[in-house]
Amino acid sequence: MNFDWIKKKLGEKTGKNLWRSLEEVAETPEFMSYLKEEFPNGSSQSESPEARRDFLKLMGASLLLAAMPGCSSPKEKIVPYVKMPEEIIPGKPLFYATGMPFNRHTTGLLVETHMGRPTKIEGNPEHIDSLGATSLFHQASVLGLYDPDRSKIVLKSGQAGNWKDFTNAVSARIKEWETNGGEGLRILTGTITSPTLGAQIRQVLTRFPKAKWHRYDPTHVDDARRAQKAAFGEYTDPVYDFSKANVILSLGSNFLINLPGSLRYAREFTQGRKAHENKGMNRLYAVEAEPTLTGAAADHVLRAKVSKMIAVAESLAQRVGVNNIQPTSNIKLSTEEQHWLDVAAKDLRSAAGKSLVIAGETMPPRIQALAYAMNDQLQNTGKTVRWIEPTEQDPTLHGPSLTELSVDMRDKKVTALFILGANPGYATPGDLPFTRLLESVPFVVHHGLHADETAAASHWHIPATHFLEHFSDGRASDGTTTMIQPLINPLYDGVSEHILISQLTPKIYKSSENAVKDYWKDKLGIDFDSGWRKALHDGFIGGSAFANKNLTAKSDWEAHDLNGTVSESEWEMTLRPDETVWDGQFANNGWLQELPKPFTKLTWDNAAMLSPESAQKLQVQNGDMIEIGNGLASIVVPVWIVPGQTSGNISLSLGYGRPQGGQIGKGIGFNAYKIQTLASPFWIPKVEIRKTGSVAKLASTQLHQSMEGRAQIRSASLDTFKKDPEFAAHMEHAMPKATLYGAHKGSDDYAWGMAINLNSCIGCNACVVACNSENNITIVGKNEVLNGREMHWVRIDHYYEGTPDNAESHQQPVMCMHCENAPCEPVCPVGATTHSDEGLNEMAYNRCIGTRYCANNCPYKVRRFNFLAYTDRDKHVEALKLMHNPDVTVRNRGIMEKCTFCVQRISQARITAKKESRLIHDGEVKTACQTACPTSAIAFGNLKDKDSEVSKWKALPLNYGLLNELNTQPRLTYLAKVKNPNPELLLAPESSTQPASGHH
């Protein structure tokens, strides 16, 4: 490429010189041919390729328009929107099925597109891992697509490069590898579930037999794999069925949140906890070192450091009746703990075949192997847990795989390294100087969405396409093949991993669609085209789930190295992927950064969680910095005191402190990878702690987590509920429904209302991000969160009940209650907030002058004010502009806003219903929070319709209104929480002097 030529070309262009890459400017023949390849004329099988192509042209035109100073018409040829492409009706969204590969599985999604722009992610109701729901990561992925910091061009040693040069460089090496069998060629990926990509990599390995494929996923499950190898002799993946489990015991597993398939598990688990249906309730015992949302949903929690959890697991296995247990732990359990285990084991045994013991996948292998054995012993295997072929392509142990690569790099045996979809420059254990080792490799290629830490240390960085921009495939948690199809042409000059890796295979692809199609060519039956179309339409290939494997946990796993005597140390540490930025890959996602994390409600930071007792011991308060050392390295992090944390255990999340995290994620938080070790990545058995004396400012959105004796969250045990089904109503003073101004005259047809089942809500935060995405809610940044000005329309309130050391944790989503008697309405001097005849409390943004009186007078404090021009960035960054939901106004500075019950969705449904001369059916309008909810904890609908789901919920005895005593008559009510504690555990152990018997 000739830079002078480029300069000249740029000089010729008018307007702001908006160009996407140097190749484009230069209009090199390579680029033109690439363009042709990327946008071929009429060769696609997808639903409406014309639409997407046209969109790109339009978008190109609008980008140009946006770049034109003044309003002269563009000189370039633009395409008028004269002929309406099939299916694209302005203002009408279209939905496409696709899937998001994340956390070792691919979840089926439906993506809402407006005029060819994906704007909102919904779950695919037919897909096993979604059932219509999504997690916060799926919801936030749309912002990931439009992230303005995504890498846009090929980088060669940090400078603008081009794809052609890159492919030339690769082909030059291929000749060499063809003669030496690929000596020194290495590929490093994360966990891959894509059968196509797996096959492509295997093709590389076949072509170059001496090449090696290494895996390192920062959230790998090596410990589970080790346990599986020991117990079953092979790698296998568990698939749980919580709908069949009446008694569940978790050993450090956060199965409601972070397993592949957690959305389904959360649904199944909470469906079994509907006290009012009189079907009996399941019961969850949780043993955990650090507080998890699963523990918060449990009926009984036993807090134990990981070292002690080994003793707990052994003791429990003995009580359950697993033979041949040779206790390795010398940690003694207290009488109370023994009693707890007695009761739990009795419960598990009495529910044999309908119980489940589930161990966390990052727990020491011994615990996990014991759990497998317990399930066998309890005859649960095959019922509540079954074993299938691993969904990961060619499963392996990631730690050793990375070690092998590192050793080879050190020994200069690696001559070329392709890093795909991984960021080892940041997300690898601190005892491995990966970036330094990388220097010894003469040819490093990094492929990723961002020019991140690894890209900076690579010779070539190839921008990746987002999963919404390319074809691919993946496996669901049960093995179901899930299809990924693009919703939009690549925004930048990215290529998919299929295209990139095909440079090493005999067949080079320029379109990922062809790569995926070729893989499935002979696997979709006789009529490939219709099979392919159906797979894309459905989002998955029906009936492709893996079959059960008949596996029995062997008891000779003692032979494997799962033992190693463990002793307790004063301070232990657990590490986990962060609740919002995960392993760090979402660090540049503002929605996720500003999402309050469970329990701490911290935003924009991670902090070491300590129990109140530990904090007292260390003489620290929230925000005090401590130095944590693992013997090799140390980090300085702030502490946050969390009741429910195990004393002596410190937990910290990974994913923060990224040196190259983009404008949003750069440098914020504290990098826990620095003290992670390859040997024991998620549990550090012994750490040293020192108080440093400095203090960090941390932005938490909820500093007060006591209910102050008020009845925001009403809960009771199953027994209490049976005695007094209306216990929730009895927790408030009834008020006469008087009003000064008279009741609103409502519509005869509709009265919108919502109910939230606190029994189902697990506090997963998916609704908060869904609301961000649906309602164009902006982020305000850490300083403004510190100022108390976050903008979320729905928040998850979190309260503790009980003593600090044995705190019960409650979650409560709170948004606008749409009060019949709304205190906000009469106080607005300009009448900007009014009551609709369908009972919605509406905000007329245009009319609002921002006195904030309504927010002051809102007892629920759900109104949010634009104190500063928060949406400026959203409105002026091209990529972010594309992201907005066109049905919702982007609010300006000085305006009040709040939850609208997704009034735009009601309007859409009303239009459809009116055209068909009928009323809106129940279930036709679903709010964004409702559709995202994995546990179906939210019901929304028409209260005038007595058969609607929400009407039925509100008729239940558990129904109560928040702050009912203020006579606000909220349209949003809650179903009180009913827990199912074991009566035997509510009593203290019969006598503390009597030694509890371990064996039955």
Binding site: P826, V827, T851, R852, P859, F865, F867, G894
Partner: protein, 464 residues
Amino acid sequence: MANETKEEKIYDESILGADYTHGTVNDKITDIVLTRPIQKGWLIALAIALSGLLTLFISIFWLIKKGVGIWGNNNPVGWAFDIINFVWWVGIAHAGTFISAVLLLLKQKWRMSISRFSEAMTLFAVACAGIFPLIHVGRIDRAYWLFPLPNTMWLWPQFRSPLLWDVFAISTYATVSLLFWYTGLIPDLAAMRDRAKELWKKRIYGALAMGWRGSAHHWFRYETACLLLAGLAAPLVLSVHTVVSLDFAVSVIPGWHTTVFPPYFVAGAVFSGFAMVITLCVPIRKWFGIEDIITMKHLDNMAKVIIATGLIVAYGYLMEVFIAWYSGNQYERFMTLNRFAGPYCAFYWALILCNVIIPQLFWIKSVRQNLVWLWVISIVVNIGMWLERFVIIVISLHRDFMPSSWAMYFPKVWDITTFIGSLGLFFTLLILFIRVLPMISIFEVQTLIKPKANSPEPTASKHS
């Protein structure tokens, strides 16, 4: 005359020096404006006040440029310094109207020497107060929507909102106060016109005097107008701060939703207004040598009003606590405990000290007679009344019904500069006022002159 004996009482040496004649009163007061040379001290005071005013301009400019977020207001605490300052200034404004209208109707002669001055103070304080509701809104360019302006969309303000009542109450109050003050000025403007030597001064004062010649007809109409305006203004003293208190009392927030607010706010307003009059009078009467026109008797009386209104305010504080306990309402109880011992408890106890305890010193005559004590206590009361509004607004909002939303409020630098700026505006107007207009009502003070045995009947006192 039949009421000659009653009128005898007027000539009280304690409210006007004994050896004043009509001429000397006239000279003394007009000289301050007309002949007294501009002094260094006055210039320095003006410079300080103007720099305050400049601070206000800068603060408002920045506010308009960036938004309300430059202040410390946040999510539970939607109102803070903005509305605290508004209520504080409105309260201060009350003394002028109270002195000139209510005391006029009650025929309290001693008010005459301080009425003009305190009315001016009222106007300036209302001007300061009026800024805050306009600039505290998120979209200042749309603030005019608060007024019922006809428009093609038939959009009117919402008459249920106490903020709208505020708009009417404050604008009425400002209008009536201005009219009352100006009407009262007319005879004195004529005196200024007559005494001014330079032509341009004569012209300006002459135009402002609107052709006043002091005829009997003029005096008759003048006094009727004054009485009518006093009749209008007197209920405003009660209504304005009642309406301001309704901003809070109409809401549902514990600490705001209180029936005692209207009387307690009015008393508090008079309380702070008199304190501000003392704060200003003590130095001014000294600097301008008018200690025998604004005498110790005036200051003593004002101190007594402070005790009386202070006790009403104290009763209000007590009732809030009592009702919180007596109602059994857990939110009210918590609110009270949060004032007593919450994170802002220092503000509450400082308020009690400033407004309830320290003013009790005024029971002691020697304290009331001591200028230093008077001045210091009056300032303490003003601080106390500012704290009262802080307690009501910030402490109630920062912890209300939902513990999950509880938060702290910390003012930012722009909160403080805006407050200082409003003081700058107030003092700029005041300092200019005392140099361009007679700060004491000449003709009214003349009615207080003790008639000499052989002197002619004073012309201006026939109907009083």
